[in-house]
């Protein structure tokens, strides 16, 4: 019981010293906040993120590559949000061999910036694939302009149509803009018309500049999309019908260009970063401490060999070797953590060795030896307790390095491919040229989080170091 009291007293004493370190407290605060966020991940973020991150099908319903919702605060504009609507059957006409169904959907548009696209999901029963049903889509604007967008045979029983990407929609939009006297589209060919331009033409007031998302004035009001479906057999029918007005903004951190919710990726990434950082740094410091103490106790040729091995690991070019290994083996996250640890310990070992050598010469160790304490007892009872505080500071201080190394590997596409990590999000951003497309919401948050986690540990480690290394205090 005496020991317990001692530990309690020592920790209280330590806490009092730690409380004086402002940076350490800030670091601890950030860390606690991050842990809370990570624990809440299943509730505040998509709970299937870990499992489905690599499955593009899971994310395909989200708008792709759109910024966060809160940008409206800064731009003062309102952006179309994601809306899913079901068209309803208006009327049906029966003829001898065909049946014509009229469906429509109404969309009340009150935003400044149009949706990023319109996606139609139509699932039908088709009797004869050689003579499939015909689908015709008309678009009616609040100013009563009517555009025929599309005329298409329904060849698949489950059809997904992205209107903003369809050739015929582009053509319809282009000729409508020309008709309305938009000089900006004069001389432009069809291939120069992008999805944002199509959406701008469809949802803007007539006049010049309507094709330019930056200049166009929104035409607010009720839009109607009319669908005419011509069936060729009585058994043929609509099974389900859905129209998605793809949002122009999404969630707290937007989406990447496959529609993945970046907020979910970032939040779940906290786990990964913490696991990598803590495992890699604690394993490497553990190896370093053991190696250092053993080296301090070894003598003669053994000591020489240990020193050489330490030197060899010290001069090994860590990142190139890790990259080569990761490229050859495609390791899991655990193996990456262990690999980082395997090359991270020599620095610690050198410091611990010199500490242990110093402690070894202290009178109380000699006293312990004199009363017949074994080497093992001296190491664990007297030397280790003096080194442990240093070890904790080193663990905290090497977390950022471990996280940076993992992020670097992931950034090169060599991380664990099955889970979302911040380095990987940055890898995707870089691979899809997010920088030159100005998709800042894809680049800033992951790096910011890497820095934040690293910083919290660095602050804590620094405070520990200051408490335990009195020379640096003043």
């Amino acid at each position: 019981m005496v020991e317990w009291k001692e530990i309690k007293m020592k920790s209280l004493e330590f806490w009092r010293a730690f409380k004086r370190e402002k940076l350490g407290l800030i670091g601890l605060g950030i860390l606690i906040l991050l842990v809370i966020l990570a624990a809440l991940a299943p509730f505040i973020a998509d709970p299937n993120t870990m499992k489905e991150w690599r499955n593009p099908k899971y994310w395909e319903d989200n708008p792709q590559g759109v910024p966060p919702e809160w940008i409206s605060i800064f731009t003062g504009k309102s952006y179309a949000k994601q809306e899913i609507k079901e068209p309803h059957l208006v009327k049906m006409e029966n003829y001898s061999t065909t049946r014509v169904e009229y469906w429509e959907v109404k969309y009340d548009y009150q935003y400044d910036v149009p949706p990023s696209g319109i996606q139609i999901k139509l699932s039908t029963v088709i009797k004869n694939p050689a003579n499939p049903p015909l689908l015709i889509i008309d678009f009616i604007r609040p100013d009563n302009e009517k555009l025929e967008l599309l005329r298409k045979q329904v060849t698949s029983e489950s059809l997904t149509l992205n209107l903003h990407l369809e050739e015929s929609v582009k053509r319809a939009a282009l000729s409508f803009a020309r008709k309305c006297g938009d000089v900006e589209v004069e001389g432009k060919s069809l291939s120069e018309i992008t999805a944002p331009m199509v959406m701008s033409i469809l949802f803007s007031q007539k006049g010049t500049g309507m094709s330019n998302p930056g200049k166009a004035k929104p035409l607010k009001g009720e839009y109607i999309i009319e669908f005419m479906i011509i069936f060729n057999a009585p058994e043929e029918k609509v099974k389900s019908f859905e129209v998605r007005f793809l949002g122009r903004v999404y969630g707290l951190l937007g989406t990447d260009d496959t529609g993945r919710d970046l907020f979910s990726g970032i939040i779940w990434g906290i786990w990964v970063a913490m696991v990598i950082g803590l495992i890699a740094s604690s394993v490497s410091v553990m190896i370093g401490v053991l190696y250092g103490v053993i080296s301090a106790y070894a003598s003669g040729i053994k000591s020489e060999i240990l020193k050489r091995i330490n030197d060899i690991f010290y001069v090994m070019p860590v990142l190139p070797i890790l990259i080569a290994m990761a490229a050859a083996w495609k390791p899991s996250i655990w193996n990456i953590a262990l690999l980082i640890a395997l090359f991270g310990w020599p620095g610690t070992a050198v410091v611990v060795k010199s500490m242990a050598l110093q402690i070894k010469e202290e009178p109380f160790i000699e006293a312990a030896k004199a009363v017949g304490a074994s080497d093992a007892k001296i190491v664990f009872r007297h030397i280790m307790p003096q080194i442990l505080p240093y070890a904790f500071a080193t663990i905290a201080l090497s977390v950022p390095t471990a996280i940076l190394t993992e992020a670097g590997l992931s950034f090169l596409g060599l991380g664990d491919p099955t889970i979302p990590t911040w380095g990987q999000i940055l890898h995707d951003a870089n691979a899809r040229l997010a920088t030159v497309r100005g998709m800042w919401w894809w680049i800033i948050p992951p790096g910011f989080m890497i820095a934040l986690v690293g910083l919290s540990f660095a602050f804590i480690g620094m405070a520990l170091d200051k408490i335990l290394n009195p020379k640096l205090v003043k």
């Binding site: 010290y314 001069v315 080569a324 870089n430 820095a451 690293g454």
Partner: protein, 350 residues
């Protein structure tokens, strides 16, 4: 111990370390190299068998074909020394590497179109020096200057903010800052190019070409310096403060030496570790930075390593592996040597 003996011992140690390190690297990659060599041989034999003359000579006799395959395989194994034990190849490659005989790459080409790895490495060397060695020198000067200032006024607001800044830069990926800068300065403001080292096509006039290079260099150089000088300043500050608290400095102050003389004593004592740091960093900078170079599309050693990895060009990967390791070993040697020259106490320990 005499200086000559100190140098001789250090040199011998370095040579031993070089040998061990190159054997280890050679051993790490030996299985993959063998696998690749065997695959190449099988492919070559298969290609030879497509020869119609050869096929006619077999006349569809499958045992004759098999015999030919075995014979050719034995020949080629001998040629590639695959018939010798693995350990022989490991040591042979290690010693080749020590003599800078890196051989030929699988596919990556030097500027003259050959697959000579030495030429390839030499062609990628200047860009890395231009970016990273320049950055290291600027960083070291800035770091030493700021670190000294912080140590002189330790406890001041300047000192504290420098400490916080150094922790920030310690936790931030340099390449991410690079991406952000490209986003802001190249994409949004259009002030700098998006990457690369020269405009395409490069300007003909030497002066214009130089300005073009500076224009491409500015952003990556700024990024690297910005992220590294904080750490430098902080370490220098700590070394200097540790020296200032020594008794002999207190004595120097107590007997009334002017502050400039006191600082001379401080600097003389703090010099060895700082000089060591300078040497290690400058030599280390020759290896470049793989990810930062990738982000800026800077055609240096780091990007070459990355290209070699992605194209599975093993000889280049291994050659650069040796190069990086040798660089560290040699840097350590020079650093220890300088330490020994500046601080005679070190020499006695050996």
């Amino acid at each position: 111990m005499g200086l000559a003996r100190f140098i001789a011992i250090k040199l011998a140690n370095t040579l031993i370390l070089l040998v061990i390190v190159s054997v280890i690297i050679s051993g790490l990659f030996a299985p993959v190299m063998d696998q690749y060599a065997r695959a190449t041989i099988e492919e070559q034999i298969r290609a030879e068998l497509q020869n119609p003359d050869l096929q006619r000579s077999f006349g569809g006799n499958s045992t004759a074909i098999q015999e030919y395959i075995n014979q050719r395989r034995a020949q080629l194994y001998k040629q590639y020394e695959l018939d010798k034990p693995l350990i022989y190849r490991i040591f042979k490659r290690a010693f080749d590497a020590l003599l800078f005989k890196f051989g030929k790459s699988y596919s990556l080409q030097a500027p003259d179109g050959t697959r000579d790895i030495n030429k390839l490495l030499l062609s990628r060397f200047p860009p890395t020096i231009i970016l990273f060695t320049t950055a290291t020198i600027i960083t070291a000067i800035l770091g030493i200057f700021l670190g000294l200032q912080a140590a002189k006024k330790h406890g001041s607001l300047f000192d504290k903010s420098l400490a916080v800044y150094s922790l920030f830069s310690y936790s931030i990926p340099t390449w991410w800052i690079g991406m952000i800068f490209i986003l802001i300065f190249s994409f949004q403001l259009g002030l700098f190019p998006l990457g690369g080292m020269h405009s395409i096509p490069p300007p003909k006039d030497p002066l214009e070409s130089f300005i073009d290079l500076l224009w491409h260099l500015a952003l990556p150089l700024f990024t690297v310096v910005l992220v590294s000088f904080g750490g430098w300043a902080y370490v220098v500050r700590n070394i200097v403060i540790e020296t200032i608290t020594q008794d002999y400095i207190m004595v120097a102050r107590a007997k009334g030496l002017p502050e400039s003389r006191v600082m001379y004593h401080v600097l003389r004592a703090a010099a060895p570790p700082i000089v060591t740091m300078v040497i290690l960093s400058i030599l280390g900078s020759l290896g470049g930075a793989i990810i930062t170079e990738t982000v800026f599309n800077w055609p240096g050693m780091g990007v070459l390593y990355w290209q070699a990895i992605t194209q599975n060009d093993l000889p280049v990967v291994i050659a650069e592996g040796y190069f990086f390791a040798f660089l560290y070993v040699i840097a350590m040697f020079f650093a220890e040597l300088m330490y020994g020259l500046l601080d005679p106490r070190v020499r006695v320990q050996w």
